[in-house]
């Protein structure tokens, strides 16, 4: 968890844009990427990525909760006493998750059923608590929004990558549309739980390799 603390100074080549907001956003998307970089929030990432649609809905839910939570925390940070801040986070996050869950139940009942307990488990997702504690509580609302969007999209991007691989190889479909003809037997291993671990391990290998190349 040591890497989660605050802001890393971007490397020189990364300063495409001078704005600090943009740098914070890119940090969240790549260096602080929750799944492949910080190895946080794995539960939902592994559980919902057998189908791309589930992964998309899940990443949108997490991004919304993360964004609203970061905005609330960073705007009322002077009002929260230091000693009860964890409990304050928990109350805010739980209320937001209840709202998201009700919205999903009403508008997307099928997906809500498929996601099962994992929407409610956003409450204990380390990403949201981690960003609140390490970033939103110490920074302005504007920066907190950039950070939440970066980390949220980074999370979504990782989930979609995992789901793309797993759905394509496991079912031969993408978003439910058939891509690989039915005559080719899909690799069902990737659609069951162990496949999630294999897909994640492979991605971490690929991303570590890319990062090491870039560092050289």
């Amino acid at each position: 968890m040591a890497e989660t603390s605050g802001l890393k100074v971007p490397k020189k080549g990364y300063r495409l844009f001078k704005s600090k907001d943009w740098n914070v956003f890119i940090e969240g998307l790549w260096h602080n990427n929750p799944i492949f970089g910080m190895i946080l929030g794995l539960c939902s990432a592994l559980a919902v990525t057998n189908l791309m649609l589930n992964a998309l809905v899940m990443s949108l839910s997490v991004t919304v909760v993360l964004l609203v939570n970061s905005i609330i925390i960073s705007s009322i940070k002077h009002l929260i006493p230091d000693r009860v801040r964890m409990i304050a986070y928990m109350f805010i996050i739980s209320s937001l998750v209840i709202a998201v869950d009700l919205v999903l139940k009403v508008f997307l009942p099928d997906i809500s059923r498929a996601l099962g307990p994992y929407v409610a488990l956003i409450i204990t997702n380390c990403i949201i608590m981690g960003r609140a504690e390490s970033f939103a509580i110490n920074n302005s609302v504007k920066l907190a929004i950039s950070d939440a969007l970066g980390v949220g999209l980074g999370y979504g991007f990782s989930l979609m990558m995992l789901a793309f691989f797993r759905e394509l190889a496991g079912f031969g479909t993408l978003f439910g549309f058939r891509v690989i003809p039915e005559t080719i037997t899909p690799a069902a291993l990737l659609s069951i739980p162990p496949g999630a671990f294999f897909a994640l391990g492979t991605y971490i290998l690929v991303i570590t390799t890319i990062r090491k190349r870039r560092a050289k």
């Binding site: 592994l46 739980s94 409610a120 608590m129 090491k212």
Partner: protein
Amino acid sequence: MNILLLLFASIVTSNIALTYFLGMCPFVTISKNVKVAFGMGMAVTFVMTVTAMANYLINHYVLIPFGLQYLQFLVFIVTIAALVQVIEIFLDRYSPALYAAFGIFLPLITVNCAILGVSLFVMLRVYNFWQTVVFGFGSGVGWMLAIIAIGGLRKKLIFSDPPENFTAPGITAILAGIMALAFIGFTGMASL
């Protein structure tokens, strides 16, 4: 569902860590050492059983009669946080040996998604009281089994020679995948 079948399924075939991916953060970070993994596993089993019972009772005798189901998530997590505090105080006062063994893990457990996950599964699958107790206990034992096994496997990794870029989290994920295959192999006997 038969209680014994439920126990077997929750420990092995529907293992909470390897099939439902709950409690993954400590699973990856704490599993470097079998002894620590054991302490954490014991603490999780204990807390899981107690909180599953408490949340079942609160859900059935407070929330449902008063029509407050929409507060379930909030109440569950608050109950878990409060119970962990109470357990910590009790252990510190009455059983210092036990407190020394797994007291340090208790604060970490409040945000362990496996604990909340068990309470949510109990609610979603409409278990009765005894099924809840068995499911909570079985899931805890299953989680402990998984984290001890991965701890033991990771110790052997020191002597092996994986590819250079296959650093800790990547190789742990692959190991967990192979283990999950072994656990799921029993699905024909019982599953949830």
